[in-house]
């Protein structure tokens, strides 16, 4: 699952995919035997994902848009 996907840059990930990938990495590290360099690369990716998630949580601001006519408009709260 993790091997064949070209990983997206961590900074572009939303919380959910970032967290999902983090969990995947953790379970991979916990259950699979991997070459050390591969495992370390996964670990670094995991760390970056965890950092990204934490940032997203810390900075999260509710985004509010409004249906207007046939489309969506930014709504001033």
């Amino acid at each position: 699952m993790l091997k064949n996907v070209e990983p997206k840059p961590v900074e572009e990930l939303a919380y959910e995919p970032a967290y999902a990938e983090l969990e995947g990495i953790i379970s991979a590290l916990e259950t699979e035997q991997r070459p050390l360099d591969e495992a370390l690369a996964l670990f670094e990716r995991g760390q970056a994902l965890a950092k990204r998630c934490a940032e997203l949580l810390d900075k999260a601001e509710l985004k509010v848009r409004q249906l207007s006519g046939e489309g969506l408009a930014e709504a001033a709260e």
Partner: protein, 508 residues
């Protein structure tokens, strides 16, 4: 009580009245009881009953009465003590009526023809407030003279074409009132008739007010509910689960209402990762049902939210009526995304609540139910994940290290160096054996040589010399002289003997 003597009782009454002096607070119930008792006995027994009642209820009330027999006004109980003590009629009164008290249960209803205002008012109060058909009633009329003083109580009159009824609603009930009251509003008021003694007024003490149409609306509500229920729209099996982590939350409500503000505040606090798509719509009035239907539909079509909040702040049953509209109910049922309703207050139920996938008591609660997992939960599980990540890599590194350590051990075992050592050892062994063999041979050779040496020794001419022989060599040609023909006269000879040599000359 039944074995009391009359005079004992009279004394008891006097004591009670004296005791009563020290009691201060008057108790309304006791007043009523005393008054009630008085109303229900024969005139000539009145005094006794009044006193009798006070006797049983220390701290009893002010009683004003004339002594029927001596015609003295007794006034307040404490001020009539003298009269009681001196009035000779008291004892006889008690004596005469005593048996009757015991035997009969307040037998007579003889109303006095002379009243004090207080007595009459209390009598009326007792009469009205004990009448069940005047308690817990609904009264229909039009509101007028509405007053809301700072106390928070509500005062108004309920009018119709021919009459007017004073009404009061205490602060507690008034604060729970959802209906916006105004003069001229046609309402039904629920409450009980009370008498306000100081002004001699009866009034309706209200505990609930509903608009006149409310009763009819409620019937309509029940009819619609039964209809939609029969269609299966409210079946539990239709209800969809609410997503745990909604990315897009649709909100169908008024863009200006408190409900929206409450929802946004709650979502920001609990789960700011979500995106909110507001589908603004009127939530009250004629445009509300089509507006709600359109908002639900376009929200589903354009925004594909994970969950929809359908919300409105509190209001009367009429204010909330759009949420009982069959079209709105069907639009909720048809919604692609699961719908959580938060309409009105906790006690309000509208038909959308029944069709919704989840019903919340208020808009705020709806926002809470839409975000079962909060940002705090996420932070906690993220911390957990980070720890697991680190633990996993550490475990991996440790196991790798152990593996490498194992390899090293193995490597030492299978190492070529080890073979070299083995080979060297074999070589050493060979060398040792070779050496041993060599030594053996050398030893053999040596003994052989020694034998040879011994044999050689035996042949050594020197050893012959030892035995006295001599070797003679001719100095001239250094040859051994073994024949006399080999020498001539005057040849110089060397003669070797065992311990050296000397020269000699041939003389013959």
């Amino acid at each position: 009580m039944s074995d009391w003597h009359n005079h004992q009782m009279a004394a008891g009454v006097r004591e009670a009245v004296q005791d009563n002096e020290s009691e201060s607070a008057a108790n309304d119930n006791q007043v009523l009881r005393a008054v009630g008792l008085r109303q229900r006995v024969a005139e000539n027994a009145t005094l006794f009953f009044v006193i009798f009642d006070i006797f049983h209820t220390p701290g009893g009330p002010e009683i004003i009465h004339d002594c029927t027999y001596c015609s003295k006004e007794l006034g307040f109980v404490h001020s009539c003590r003298t009269s009681l003590e001196t009035c000779s009629t008291v004892d006889s009164l008690i004596e005469r009526e005593y048996a009757q008290i015991i035997m009969e249960q307040l037998p007579l209803f003889e109303i006095p023809n002379r009243w004090t205002v207080t007595e009459l008012t209390r009598y009326l109060r007792q009469l009205l407030e004990s009448n069940n058909s005047l308690q817990g009633i609904w009264v229909k009329g039009e509101i007028s003279n509405l007053a809301r003083p700072a106390s928070g109580h509500l005062y108004f009159a309920l009018k119709d074409s021919a009459a007017s009824l004073r009404c009061v609603m205490w602060r507690g009930e008034a604060s729970r009132l959802r209906l916006a009251l105004s003069d001229g509003a046609a309402v039904e008021v629920h409450g009980s008739i009370r008498v306000y003694e100081p002004q001699g007024q009866y009034q309706l003490q209200a505990d609930a007010i509903r608009s006149l149409g409310e009763g009819a609306l409620f019937q309509e509500f029940l009819r619609l509910k039964a209809l939609l229920e029969a269609e299966g729209l409210f079946d539990e099996a239709r209800k969809r689960p609410i997503p745990q982590l909604p990315r897009v939350i649709g909100v169908v409500t008024s863009p200006t209402g408190a409900a929206l503000r409450d929802i946004l505040n709650t979502l920001q606090r609990r789960y700011p990762l979500a995106e909110v798509i507001l589908a603004p719509t009127p939530v009250q009035g004629e445009e509300a049902p089509p507006g709600l239907v359109a908002a639900l539909q376009s929200l589903n079509q354009l925004a594909h939210p994970d969950v929809i909040l359908l919300a409105r702040g509190g209001g009367s049953i009429e204010d909330l009526w759009a949420f009982n509209d069959a079209l709105v109910v069907r639009a909720v049922a048809a919604s692609e995304a699961p719908v959580i309703t938060g309409v009105g207050h906790e006690t309000d139920f509208t038909l959308v609540d029944f069709v919704a996938d989840l019903r919340a008591p208020t808009p705020t609660a709806a926002a809470e139910l839409a975000t079962p997992i909060t940002v705090l939960d996420l932070q906690a599980s993220l911390n957990d994940a980070t720890s697991r990540l680190e633990a996993a890599i550490l475990a991996l590194i440790n196991s790798q290290r152990e593996f490498v350590d194992g390899l090293q051990t193995n490597m030492r075992y299978f190492s070529p160096l080890r073979r070299v050592q083995t080979e060297r050892q074999r070589l050493d062994e060979l060398i040792r054996r070779v050496n041993a063999a060599q030594a053996h041979r050398i030893a053999l050779d040596r003994s052989h040589i020694r034998g040879l040496e011994r044999r050689l020794d035996a042949l050594n001419p020197h050893s012959v010399l030892q035995r006295g022989y001599a070797v003679v060599t001719n100095k001239r040609d250094r040859r051994i002289v073994s024949s006399k023909s080999a020498v001539k006269k005057d040849d110089e000879l060397n003669v070797h003997v065992a311990d050296g040599e000397f020269e000699a000359r041939v003389s013959l």
